[in-house]
Symmetry: C2
Subunit: 105 residues, 2 copies
DNA sequence: TGAAGCCATAAGTGATTACTTATGAAGATG
DNA sequence: CATCTTCATAAGTAATCACTTATGGCTTCA
């Protein structure tokens, strides 16, 4: 499977997007993440593996904990793919540009 | 399934992204699209149905042909979701902004 | 050292996916 | 009308998915 499909597929699951959202707030251990979802710890580990394979998260060991953090680089290729649709957004593009500019200023 | 997952899932298949790319060039019939892919016509129809359910394409009948066209609006929510990662792109964000601005000017 | 905590991996399951071939409905054309 | 074109839908299949429970390897700590 090509890398782009792998990234989209990783993002296609709600629990995985929640995991990314949680990691966006702060790096966290698997246990911390598990406590915040309604699925089992192994399920969380499996989702994290898929996110890892898509390059969207990385992890470091701290004692017996495994601390995960976001790695947003693959999303750049998603953004690049999206940019092909600029012409179709017309006026709405300004709203989009506003969205991506919001945090810059 | 939530709408956002549906859009990501629709984009997670390479053939469906190719279909969108083709439709980005011009509105086309199912037969035209079929000729350009290596899968069967029913497979193309099935992919188009998934894209329709995600709101990414629409179609109009012209005689016995079914002409499909891109409907990019759902991609705005993808773009909005992506914007949460601005802070993680740091310097790379400029490249991203360049990408989305390219076609504007 | 031994018990407990943290986490990945294994194995099993039902649901979904992405295709195929077969078919039939609806519109154009002789 | 009879036929051909275009396309969606049906049915079947092998592969993949998202979970579960069970287990065991490390690490920490009493």
């Amino acid at each position: 499977m090509d890398k782009e499909s792998q990234v989209f597929r990783a993002l296609a699951d709600q629990n995985r997007r929640i995991l990314l959202d949680l990691l966006l707030e702060s790096d966290q251990s698997v246990g911390d993440l598990s406590d915040k979802l309604t699925i089992s710890q192994p399920a969380v580990s499996q989702h994290l593996q898929i996110l890892r394979e898509a390059g969207l998260v990385s992890h470091r060991k701290e004692g017996r904990q495994n601390i995960y953090s976001v790695d947003a680089e693959p999303l750049l290729s998603v953004a690049s793919w999206l940019s092909k649709y600029d012409a179709f957004w017309d006026g709405k593009l300004d709203a989009f540009a506003g969205l991506i500019n919001r945090k810059r200023n």
